[in-house]
């Protein structure tokens, strides 16, 4: 039997997303952000989405478009200072926002992808963000319990894929993308280039293709 291809057009890939889904989106400060996939998601008008991402781009730029278009119900992330629309929407009671320290946010996604339901960390212990979280003492210090994060769909960006879905990234655009690829039921990778299997040195693969469900050739 010939192998099933993961390479598909963007609308076909994005059609996996339903109203109310939890969606992880890669990127940090607009780098490594899958802009084509976001634009396609905006075009679907899917509603009540929970977006799990480091930040929300800038007002009406990158992930900011989803908020401007009224598609967001909840945000889980850590740094919305670059998009003041988020504070406005939260203060107006239009969306729920959960802040998690950036390192815990990254680790929760990593844990979610490798079957660890929760872990302890020092970050946020005793602070407002640690309020209500279970604590335990290790070596004389109080740690908080952080739960893993998982999602229905992950939208990620990589520099290059082979036709199987092995991925390599570009510089600081890597950020949250590799961990998010592991933590969703369905991962869509927007890539700049698609090469035949065998054309990426196996030693340099960052995301093995087991974590990738759909490959979309990006234009942005």
């Amino acid at each position: 039997m010939t192998r099933k291809s993961k390479i598909m057009d963007i609308e076909q890939a994005i059609s996996k997303i339903k109203d109310g889904d939890r969606i992880m989106v890669g990127g940090f400060g607009l780098r490594g952000c899958p802009d084509d996939l976001i634009d396609a998601l905006v075009a679907t008008n899917r509603k009540d989405l929970t977006i799990i991402s480091n930040d929300l781009g800038s007002p009406a730029i990158g992930l900011g478009k989803l908020l401007s278009n009224g598609q967001v119900k909840e945000l889980i992330g850590n740094f919305y200072n670059w998009n003041p629309d988020v504070a406005d929407a939260k203060n107006a009671g239009n969306i729920k926002v959960t802040l998690i320290p950036q390192g815990s946010f990254a680790e929760s996604i990593r844990a979610g992808g490798c079957g660890i339901p929760a872990y302890f960390t020092l970050a946020s212990a005793g602070t407002e963000l640690g309020n209500g979280k279970e604590t335990r003492e290790f070596n004389g210090k109080k740690y908080v319990l952080e739960n893993a994060l998982t999602a229905d769909v992950a939208l990620i960006k990589a520099a290059k894929a082979d036709e199987l879905g092995n991925l390599v990234y570009c510089k600081s655009a890597r950020n949250f993308n590799p961990a998010m690829a592991t933590a969703a039921k369905y991962t869509i990778a927007q890539v700049g280039e698609i090469v035949p299997a065998g054309n990426i040195d196996p030693e340099t693969v960052i995301t093995p293709h087991i974590f990738v469900n759909a490959i979309v050739k990006g234009v942005q």
Partner: protein
């Protein structure tokens, strides 16, 4: 009184923090926060020092300009930066593993307030437009030393105070505070002034500092 422009204040703070690293004889890894901390790299002249950015880079180079700007390469403050020979990239969870795992020797961060117990508030002003914590809470508990770079006062009010009023980022984590007026070291529950600005005396410094501090027997003058 000290009459320095905003740029002169930033430069003085950054220069004096860099002096803490310029004598390092061992390989030293530091993480620099947004704002004045980023400027510290301008004054580091020690090949033993490597800069980590929490968005996934070890060996961060200087700010990139013009043709040197790469569209996918920024530091954690979203500024385009250059690579250094031997630099590497890693994903965010590995980057914070470095931080949380105690592999980063020092973090330099800004602050709204620091109190006499070494507590620091730097992540949110309630009711404001800024809604974010970033990596601050991970950095203050993970890095081996926490160095605060901040102006001594804000709108004439001390930022070094008895007890933090704003939401705290980390408790008892501060090791050094460097302002344009002095360098304060937090050691075993004591706050010790080790360097003072060239223009002022200790009596003046006490009038603009919100907590009591000891003065080192070997008090030095800050780099101007």
């Amino acid at each position: 009184m000290v009459n320095l422009t905003k740029d002169e204040v930033s430069a003085r703070i950054a220069k004096n923090i860099a002096s803490l690293f310029n004598e390092a004889e061992d390989i030293t890894f530091i993480n620099l926060g947004v704002g004045i901390p980023t400027q510290v790299s301008n004054y580091i002249n020690n090949d033993n020092v490597f800069i980590q950015a929490e968005n996934g880079m070890l060996g961060v180079g200087p700010i990139a300009e013009g043709n040197d700007i790469h569209p996918e390469l920024i530091n954690a403050g979203r500024q385009p930066v250059k690579e250094t020979p031997g630099c590497s990239y890693m994903d965010s969870s590995t980057s914070f593993g470095m931080i949380r795992g105690g592999h980063i020797d020092a973090t330099v961060i800004g602050a709204f307030e620091v109190d006499q117990c070494g507590n620091v508030s730097n992540w949110i002003i309630p009711g404001g437009k800024m809604l974010g914590v970033g990596g601050a809470m991970d950095l203050v508990v993970g890095a081996n030393k926490v160095i605060i770079a901040m102006t001594h006062t804000s709108k004439g009010k001390p930022k070094l105070i008895k007890e933090c009023i704003l939401p705290v980022t980390g408790y008892g984590e501060v090791d050094v505070v460097v302002t344009e007026l002095g360098m304060f070291f937090f050691e075993d529950g004591r706050v010790i002034l080790k360097k003072i600005a060239p223009e002022i005396d200790i009596d003046y410094l006490r009038t603009v500092t919100g907590f009591e501090f000891e003065v080192s027997h070997e008090l030095n003058i800050m780099e101007p």
